[in-house]
Symmetry: C5
Subunit: 374 residues, 5 copies
């Protein structure tokens, strides 16, 4: 079971990662730690308009003194590899058992849930792969309270929060003047905006594939179109629930979400819709590409067939003529037996006949347009 | 009619089992017992925080003393093969005739219905087959009252409630501190979670088929893709109404469902949605696979055609040349009649001509890229 | 026009029957009688808990004395072939002109309409054909009043109400204790349940076709798949509005539908949804079958092509070799002219060469796997 | 621009007619007259229960005296070819500029709009072509006031209102007893019912095409299926908004629509839904036909391929045998050089060998079932 | 990043332009100027019923004196190439930072947003390309206040507002009598109506392609169908949100939108729906075209195959016959060895046999209808 929750990330398991599951009938709130998961590293950023603390801490308990102050505390846990630390985290932040389960079970669907004082937001972050078309995907859980925000990421690598950290460190924009809910918005916004670079790669790759399909479709092309379709399917499954999450934050009147946040969240919502639009668009384009691929293969086969037909249709009758004059009828027994063989111009006439037949057929093919590409 | 209600389970009838039906125009509330159905075995688990009774009982009447106590009684009937026992069960639990009909008719759609004091929940459980990709599916009916839960399963084999029984026996989690409605939730949750292992098998099988389709598509592959599509269709039909059932339990304010159950049911609902997501995802993937299969077959045909064309196009002209010099024109009658036959280097020149023609054609094919795989 | 309303039932017109129409611009409430329609036969069943009258009557007026009594009167008219009788019926039951039009126009969509004291329900009954896969479909109109129910069927043959009549005659179940609205429910339920045996036939036929498509697809198979798709389309068009009819009966609060009827109607509604589910399922399966058929035809063609390619590719080079040694170059003029012909082992060597070539090609094909079935 | 509004009707432009448009950025309310449009002819029918005037008038002003009387006045303008007359019409009926624009712009989508005292209904009428499968489509605008109804048709030819005129003239049904809103309903109903004969033609043509596709699919068949799909698409686009129009008349509580009209309008609504059903049905059927066509073409190709394969596979080996014995190895140089040529039964044995080979192959093909049709 | 926001417009990037994105995690309200963007040119039109100012201005500040007057001021900024000017514009019009971001980020989805005194409308304008089928697309942002309207266009070229400017200049229609909100409507209406000429081009091109597909399908045709599908996809993505924008303006009761505007906006809404209808229609038609293309290619291949089969099937048996009489069996050794060779009419009989075989086969093909086009 533990193995299910955390497979080594790689091409093969990417698609099925979100499909992992918890054991049927297990106690709700159970947490199961994958042995291969990286140990958690914890970062604490505590800030207000004037002061800033940004450090890595070793134990969850170290952040206790920061939580009750009026300044905003962002505790960012990266990695899920220690049941002990997670349990202590749950104690420090007084997490509901179902919250802890959702945070640890990395196959959750993005959602938002209200637990009295805390708001749990499950999101999923995508980060583009280095050079190739593809992405890493990992779950990020937010636990939002009045003065702090706890975020738990699946892995320490790949993270699209760097620019938010920089905005806090360098006090860019209004982030230092706002509360924890603005921080949550900023991170959610970074997650949604993180879909764009991933999609851009797909857009570029699709344009290359269009070129390929039209000009030299190969089995490799087919495989890639299929692969992209699959990955777009996965992106679609990932982005859809995010829209609902943001919509719920806007409409359902959670106490922890100020009215001032609404225009920002609406902006974020618009971006989520735009991502969905793009995914749907790319899906339709790849579906169209598949059709074009099939047509291109048919066209190619047509060309091959035409070539065979032209060659066969020209040479088979010629060979037949040659065959006739290769027959051994005895010309001495009868003047009707292949007198052509003894004619003075027999051979040249025979060659001329062949030339006429071949030329006539070639002309016919040319008129049918079979010499041009189909 | 009886035969319809209960066919021996096996590959052939699996898909059509849910499609069986009750006789048009029969009296509502009629119960018809399939002769082949296994006789019911009845288990009673009665528990509260401190005490526990877990035993098999022989007659429905044996559980009467447990029903009125404040402790939670779970009566689990497995098998539908005796009209007598079912009728006595109906008397013991004072079931409405329509409830009894729904419980016995194993082709019901999952649903929830309120009968004054009792809540009837019809669900459908799937259990993965042993080694192969596939599943057994059976109906489970819940009759929930304040202090007891009656569950009726179609068959005694295959059941995903074992872990719940263990939680009760070993008093794991909070189950012993909660009422009958928590037990109903726990079982429903086990049913929903039971879809995951089934789906995981399909996921794995689909990944294998992807490999197969790309590399060596066979008629067998086609058959399997089709089979998986059919079975996913069936899973989809099974999971959809469950979502409505859970949603109804959350929203429709049944008296027997406490407010405290809501977070748990919401969790269960999320899992149902996740199952639906996965089923839809797999369906889309298999549809895509079908397209790829068709393309792969076309590609394969293309390759065959190219091979034929290359061989034919090279040898047919050569054969024609050989045919020419096999003609019997009389070289003695005229110097124009095939003088080549008497040349000193006639044969070597002829062979050279053939080599040039063959080489030229081969070069042309090579340039067209026909020697590489399509 | 009359011809439109009533074509002789048969395979050809079945699909288009529901598509017949009333003359554009005709007076609303016009009734037009098809000459070929069978003359109406009228049955009267009048019953209460203790007494029962069940007889055929000749004129609509004969049922007048029964209508005002408190006992339930069911007047069942079968056949629409007499304008006179229909008009007298309208007088006896004081039908609104639009009601009469709807009853007579057998191409109406199922619907429910409230005419002050009366409730008009239009339904469509399907009855499976004798041995083959297919069904007869006919319109049944219900006019429900407090104490009586008038039903008008399109034809006297094929009817799925027999079991309801038997329940009344033998006083099975609660039907004799209930009012006219329960009778209407019982008949509606019989109509909905009547879809199941029809669908079961399709299910069986589809399973046979699956076998056929995989193993020996023929043009006949294609035609049957297409035919089934068409008929499922028609079933779908028929069942969908029934669901709305029953839903409307449950939700729209008609005075004539008691509150006690609701659980029964909900049960009926569940069955209608189940029918829809099955139809959709079968439609998806037949769509999949079509894809599989196409693939199977492609596969078959592939096999043919491979056979041709193997035979051609092996024999064409051999024939070329034979052609070479059939050339007539004069071996006496030069030692370079086909010296092989005069070698001592010329012929055996030539045969050996052919064997090597053929064997090599056969090996190559075998390695490519072309000898196994694709 | 003018040209856009009114192209000569014919096969080519039919599909794109509804797609014409008004100049971007032009003043709302602009009317542009197409030069080719037929000049308007105006008919006036003024009636009440006892009196009737039915005449053609020359100027819009002629109908002024009829408008204010309590009798119903129906002014029917056919043709849009004169800006002057249309403008005078607008003055006589005090039309809002946007109403006039909508009336003249024949590419409007069917809709209903309330302009204080008047109700504007835009509808689109279809009339079947003479003998062939197809239809003319033209816009009809209704301007309904308390005592009069103004209808403006695009062209004087083709019109499905004849039966309504007859009902007024001969005082059939209740039309003479009702107000202008009943007249509007009667015409709208005639328009909706006018779809049925058009669809019936398509139904018949589709049945013919089914036959054709199964038995002798030709390129012509493909073209027709495509054409029918296109025209059904257009019918669908035409009928959908009509449903909304009628629904709006029923639900939106316009003052000019009496409560008594509701049952009639509901009837009309049911017919519109039935038309939509039929169109969708035909669309699904033609889509299925396209699939069948593709399969039939594949089957046909398969047959051709099998024929070629049978012929080639039988004769190519035979020709090879003949080729062997056509070789010129010198039998005198060695006893190993084609001794068969000098055998006493050499030739008969050779023919026998050929017969055996041919027979064996033919048997193999027969066993494979290649001689039967695929 | 800047590069993303503004790529040089051209065929390649057109489709992906709307897909550009803002940097994940950047400060909300950031504006980033693309270096390649053309510098803004600013036009001011200030008008009321009697006076009119229409001039180009150099700095945003020049329009300050016009803004507070009661006359309507339309400030039209074309080009986004200067951060300085845009910032000063934001100051002059006191724009919210998010408004400025939306205006500058040319990849926004059309939307309407209320910022207290101002209404922000994001729209997207399409302008048809010169001679070919295609379009330029650019974002237009509206900032509407009580007395002024600020519009910001992405580029100075291509603009469909000319006719509106003319209506103001020449005081055509009621535009000079109305406020800024009427101007906003007029421009929005011009944008929506601007879709029609673009679509008309596609309609014409599709009709040409239909012809092409039926008569001489080429690879080029396939490519064009694919291209049109892609561009229609993009048009669909562009027009859909416009409908929501206009609907929101009608329904959401913005203070700046008078009640009198409603009929005009409803008219505009109808046009947007009509555009959507047309786009969907064209999409369905091109999908159908793709199917027809595939069928046409199959048909073409069929023809080629039939030709090959006819030629091969006729000549291969003939060549076999010729081969037989080319064998060298020694006629002197035995009377059974090819006695035909010494017959008096051997050769003519042989030719006759060939003629009979060829004629028979040709007849068979003719009867199969293979000489006619498939």
């Amino acid at each position: 079971m533990a193995k299910k929750n955390r497979r080594p990330s790689g091409k093969k398991t990417k698609a099925s990662k979100m499909d992992s599951y918890i054991q049927p009938g297990s106690v709700p709130g159970t947490i199961i730690i994958d042995q291969d998961a990286p140990p958690p590293t914890i970062f604490l950023i505590d800030y207000n308009q004037t002061s800033l603390t940004h450090k890595q801490i070793n134990t969850p308990e170290e952040c206790v003194p920061y939580l009750d102050t009026i300044s905003v505390s962002w505790v960012d846990v990266q990695g899920l590899g220690s049941a002990d630390i997670l349990q202590r985290l749950a104690n420090v932040f007084s997490l509901h058992p179902l919250v802890l389960e959702d945070v640890v079970n990395v196959a959750e669907r993005p959602k938002v849930e209200d637990y009295e004082d805390q708001l749990l937001i499950i999101a999923r972050m995508v980060v583009p792969k280095e050079r190739i078309c593809g992405f890493y995907s990992e779950q990020v859980s937010f636990v939002l309270d009045k003065n702090y925000l706890l975020t738990v990421q699946e892995e320490p690598e790949h993270d699209c929060f760097e620019s938010v950290r920089m905005r806090i460190d360098k006090s860019k924009g209004i982030i230092r003047k706002q509360g924890a809910n603005y921080l949550a918005y900023a991170l959610l916004d970074a997650i949604i905006d993180g879909f764009f670079p991933v999609l851009e790669r797909y857009g570029d790759r699709i344009e290359e594939l269009e070129e390929e399909v039209m000009n030299k479709p190969s089995r490799q092309t087919l495989q890639e179109i299929y692969q992209i379709r699959r990955e777009l399917l996965q992106l679609r499954r990932t982005i859809w629930p995010h829209r609902d999450v943001i919509n719920s934050l806007i409409r359902d009147g959670y106490e922890l979400i100020n009215e001032d946040m609404k225009p920002y969240l609406r902006d974020c919502y618009d971006h989520a819709v735009q991502v969905m639009d793009m995914v749907e668009n790319y899906r339709e384009i790849t579906n169209g590409l598949m059709d074009v691929y099939l047509s291109a293969v048919s066209n190619r086969m047509n060309e091959v067939m035409k070539f065979l037909t032209v060659i066969s249709s020209i040479f088979i009758p010629l060979t037949f003529i040659a065959g006739i004059y290769g027959m051994n009828f005895n010309t001495e027994k009868s003047p009707y037996n292949m007198p052509e063989l003894n004619w003075y111009f027999g051979y040249p006439l025979c060659l001329a006949l062949m030339a006429v037949v071949a030329g006539g057929l070639a002309l016919a093919f040319w008129q049918k347009g079979w010499f041009s590409k189909f």
